[in-house]
Point group: C2
Chain length 674, copies 2
């Protein structure tokens, strides 16, 4: 077994049984069971030996962590288990300020408790729904709008839907009141009336008003389906170009390991290209979705989809011919439930190749000689469902040593009720009586670089016009100015600034400059919530697009280890092996980050002011971050890709006419005539 | 024949013969022969009637223009030909400040004149090239660094290359001197010594120094080709989903016409979706490539690739299985040479469908019901070769009524000589003795919208945080502020600003706001050359990302009709049917553009500071501008796309194992387990 392999069902069972044994009262309620990756120093030795085929590999500890409650009590415990020795090596009771995420078993319990509560039942009754409608409950993290919050609670948003088919839109009839339930006691704390007008006022006496529903389910939306879309299939008659050995993938000079855990979901480890180290670890560190409606309770409506729910927990079971097209490799994993039982996550990641158009082309102007290659891309994809929303996360590996992280948002908008005829400046009406508030999705992409080794730096490169002077007599000259970030902190995205990861000790023989990878990511608007708001204080990572810190083991999550109802946490805890604050805490250490083992945290922000076109289900909204070599190689890394030929590509002419001029079958390419 | 069909060979012959007849001296040297599209007012009536199947269609004039010299004379003439009446209706001699573009016949003559000139021959001889090397000549537009320039001349950049194979890299041995040739007289005006150091000084006595060449051609680069890339083919067993009638294309509710001319190349006309008008005309209006090296002669190095060369003239002959993959429809066209003879442009545009991943997906959290559709995209692609560079231009039509303009830069960097060991701040060394200067590519995308009619407006929409007050007690609220641009001029790209085209007279019943399309385009750094530099004055469009003007017939080109050695032209000419300035001139008119027939000019800028990885041939650098409905429809326009099914997609499992869990063959999709 490889040191980075995700936990096996047997290991999960072992952890659970050991924790239960250590807690005789038989009330253990697991929040999660997770692999503790080995310390980077020893892990890198291990990976280096493995890559170079040295045997035996250095022995590494195989450790797991367990986070759990005792049922009916508010105290959160974190334990460490030595899997080799089959013993619990550490149990710590966490400070009361920390809460565990809501696990799915608990969510089901709270949904039931909410919908069964007499007060809620009465309130629903008084709302006057037609008989064909039932009510469903979404349990949202309560968020935080005060420092007085001292119990773990759920904000329940209720929706009415037709009960005659399980696919009816669960978000098209938002109810105008929202129960608040205690996760521990399951008691009803409050029923909050929702504002229906354009101000903060509420109107509790409002009754259900019928409107024509908008349905996303293929059985239910009333539209005739398009009949003129012909099948398009992808074939790889000689098989895939990649090889897979358990979690090790090799493809077109790339070599990396696929990881997976309950929180981050898909993780990419130990990425090398043509034998050179590029990245030690790539992961979705956190994700924050704050809403822009200033009214209670929406003013606290926000969720850390990674820390509060878990990108691994929420991963879809991907299906052949639906979520991917072509020759597909699936990766399956195992997580655990609240009793510590293994829960299979089949097909949580799919991997396949796609054709991505032209890789490079040139035609010599004088001789008309042509070379052209197509661009083949290796795709690793995972999809998560978080309540109403879906997120698609993809890594694209290309043949020119480029690595691209693609985020797509789809699914259903979070909707709230609104009175007929009313419009608000912080949201869009998407159906009669249904409003979708403005919101943002801010993702934290954690990049642990190892460009030719683990001593790297972050460089800011700006293109700057030269002054209009004797050196620049025509006023057309411009140069690049670079700034090496020497101390941990933030970096801004300004006018065309390029952020580069460099290894100052390795000089490119052609350019004469340190080898580098550039981070290409469109300039975005960061968190719109005030920095002093609870959103701003709880999700500091969302305030700046780039953060750089000195690497420390265990610092994996941009908003901290425990995000549920989190209090701003700028101070390291007395026991810093448990909670080490958030990326802002670490950035403030003032660590030296020039030519050091650094970690980059890139915040990617999508300001989503909904369109009617995003409803009742949203066409994919796509963002991309590219990691591209920029002086890492001495020439085009894709120069050795074979020519594109009709013999290989077997394209077909639309008309049955004679092949178009220049289509020499099997030839490299047509002749370009200028 | 349709009124927008490109000129036929017969029509080109007719124009040429009529112009020659009208100029008895038999010395006509054609620069171009082009269709004059009918005035928009009558054309729209015609298109409306055509779309609605009215017969007979309104009669429209079929006119062509011819731009020409008389051989051996400097005077440029523009003529109008009535093709129906077979007569020349107008001939105008242009002011001497206007120059015609360099046509390919002329370029060949100048290349020969340059390389045959005794002084150039001697200078090459003294440079001491080895016997196996020959010299090639690239004729660059001279550009402009003074207002005294009053003859049409070419800046010749010379390169040595191995003569033993026609595919050797023409840019890997740039010579340190550059002849200047007069296009009219073919005389040698000057031989300019190029700076080889890090300052303006020159060293004429320098001799050729050998280095190991970097080769792009598949026969010549010494690398072993990758052997592990397996074939990937795309099949449409039931044929394409589109229909084509001459230049009319219909696909998935889209309907539009494909146009093509010598200057803009691919043009998209009369775009409708589901019968609703969206865009009257979409084209690449201009493109400017200025270099950032401040030294003579590079300080004037710049080219308008559309106006100085012609995107149609430079269009590649696309080949089956190389430039496109799958089931391909090709469009072929006809241009003309300097004698007015028709020149075929076979396969100048290819069209095909691609799978673009997931279109939309949702899984109901409680019932686990899933709907998913894949995204099919219709691609229209054209590729141009302009000397060293290639540009790929693609229109992507998607099923959610989104339209995407994709620009890819590939080919070879423009290189200059540099002394061994020298580095400069305005360029990157890409081989020993070879430097690639920083430069920008600024494209002007001309968008002539007709959202539900031709009365549209440009709106700037900003997302703005609300003040921290009693209306926004938690400091989390934000709203959108919109500004309708009322007068022709520019608009800036600032923090997440969204530019929308709206029809103020048509209100979306769901959102309650005017129907709109949003322009999504990453914020870029605009022209780095000083606004008062010749670059800045000749390419004003490149100074701002968005321009809006009131529509006028004939205003098609952002930098003006005649870009070759153009003088800044802010004043309308006395005969405004000939030259009407540039987009800055038109924007300054102060026309009313709110709820009017408007034109948008979007400048897309790529600041290209070369990487060694961009050499000896550049992996595609990609930019995308998206035109997406934003309250144009009342719900997701792709809601009626059929479900993705394995029955249709015929994907294959990587392993020969039993189908992975959830891969119900032919079923819609796997079940997602949270």
């Amino acid at each position: 077994m490889h040191s980075l392999d995700p936990l096996t069902p047997a290991e999960i069972n072992l952890v659970a049984s050991l924790i239960k044994k250590a807690n005789a009262d038989n009330t253990v309620h697991f929040k999660n069971i997770d692999l503790i990756e080995p310390p980077k120093k020893v892990l890198r030795k291990y990976l280096f030996a493995e890559r170079n085929g040295s045997v035996p590999l250095p022995a590494l500890p195989r450790l797991a962590s367990a986070l759990y409650y005792h049922r009916g009590t508010p105290n959160l415990f974190v334990a460490t288990v030595d899997l080799d020795a089959s013993r619990v090596t550490r149990i710590k009771k966490l400070e009361s300020r920390y809460y565990g995420q809501a696990d799915m078993d608990e969510v089901v319990e709270v949904r039931d408790a909410c919908l069964r509560h007499p007060k809620v039942v009465d309130r629903i009754k008084s709302y006057g729904l037609p008989d064909n409608m039932t009510v469903v409950c979404d349990t949202w993290p309560y968020g935080r709008d005060s420092d007085q919050l001292n119990r773990r609670i759920a904000q329940c948003y209720l929706y009415a839907k037709d009960r005659s088919h399980p696919g009816y839109n669960s978000y098209d009839n938002p109810l105008p009141f929202s129960p608040v339930i205690d996760y521990l006691t399951k008691e009803l704390i409050d029923i909050i009336e929702l504002p229906l007008g354009s101000d903060h006022s509420v109107t509790p006496e409002v009754k259900h008003v019928h409107h024509v529903n908008k349905e996303w389910h293929h059985d239910l939306n009333s539209l005739p389906k398009r009949a003129d879309l012909k099948p398009l299939t992808v074939h790889q008659p000689l098989g895939a170009s990649f090889t897979v050995d358990e979690h090790l993938v090799q493809w077109q000079k790339w070599r990396f390991r696929v990881g997976f855990n309950w929180r981050e979901g898909m993780v990419i480890h130990d990425v090398t290209y043509d034998g050179r180290e590029l990245f030690h670890r790539l992961s979705l560190s956190e994700m924050f979705v704050p809403y822009g409606d200033p009214r209670t309770p929406y003013s606290r409506k926000s969720v850390f989809d990674v820390g509060d729910i878990g990108a691994g927990v929420a991963a879809n079971n991907l299906a052949l011919g639906c979520d991917c097209l072509g020759l597909i490799k699936y990766f399956s994993f195992t997580l655990s439930d609240s009793n510590g039982n293994p829960v299979p996550k089949p097909n949580a990641i799919c991997m396949h190749e796609i054709d991505d158009g032209i890789g490079w082309k040139h035609t010599d102007g004088a001789t008309k000689e042509v070379s052209i290659v197509r661009s083949r891309v290796l795709v690793l994809q995972t999809i998560i469902t978080v309540g109403n929303y879906e997120y698609i996360f993809k890594w694209h590996f290309d043949q020119a040593a480029g690595l691209h992280y693609i985020i797509q948002a789809t699914g259903i908008l979070s909707t709230v009720p609104i009175a007929p005829g009313v419009k608000v400046p912080w949201g869009t009406n998407v159906n009669h009586g249904v409003m979708a508030p403005y919101h943002q999705h801010v993702f934290s992409l954690r990049i642990d670089p190892t460009l030719d080794g683990d001593k790297n730096s972050l460089v800011e490169e700006d293109s700057v016009a030269m002054p209009f002077d004797e050196e620049n007599p025509c006023g057309v000259g411009y140069i690049t100015k670079t700034n090496v970030v020497s101390t941990s902190g933030t970096s801004q995205a300004v006018n065309n600034r390029v952020h580069k990861i460099v290894n100052p000790s390795v000089i490119n023989r052609i350019s004469g400059k340190p080898v580098a990878y550039a981070i290409h990511s469109p300039q975005k608007q960061m968190l719109l919530a005030h920095p002093d708001s609870w959103h701003g204080k709880r999700a500091k990572f969302a305030l700046h697009p780039y953060w750089v810190t000195a690497y420390r083991d265990g610092e994996l999550y941009a908003a901290g280890d425990y995000t549920y109802q989190s209090l701003p946490d700028d101070v390291a805890m007395e026991d810093d092996s448990v909670n080490k604050g958030d990326v802002a805490t670490w950035a403030k250490r003032g660590d030296k980050v020039d030519n050091e083992d650094i970690v980059l945290w890139h915040s990617v922000s999508l300001t989503h002011n909904p369109r009617p076109e995003d409803y009742p289900v949203m066409p994919c909204e796509t963002m991309m971050v590219s990691l591209k070599p920029s002086g890492f190689f001495e020439q085009n890394p894709a120069l050795d890709v074979p020519q594109s030929t009709q013999r290989m590509n077997k394209s077909v002419l639309f008309e049955e006419e004679a092949p178009a001029a220049g289509s020499r079958s099997g030839a490299c390419c047509g002749i370009s005539k200028l």
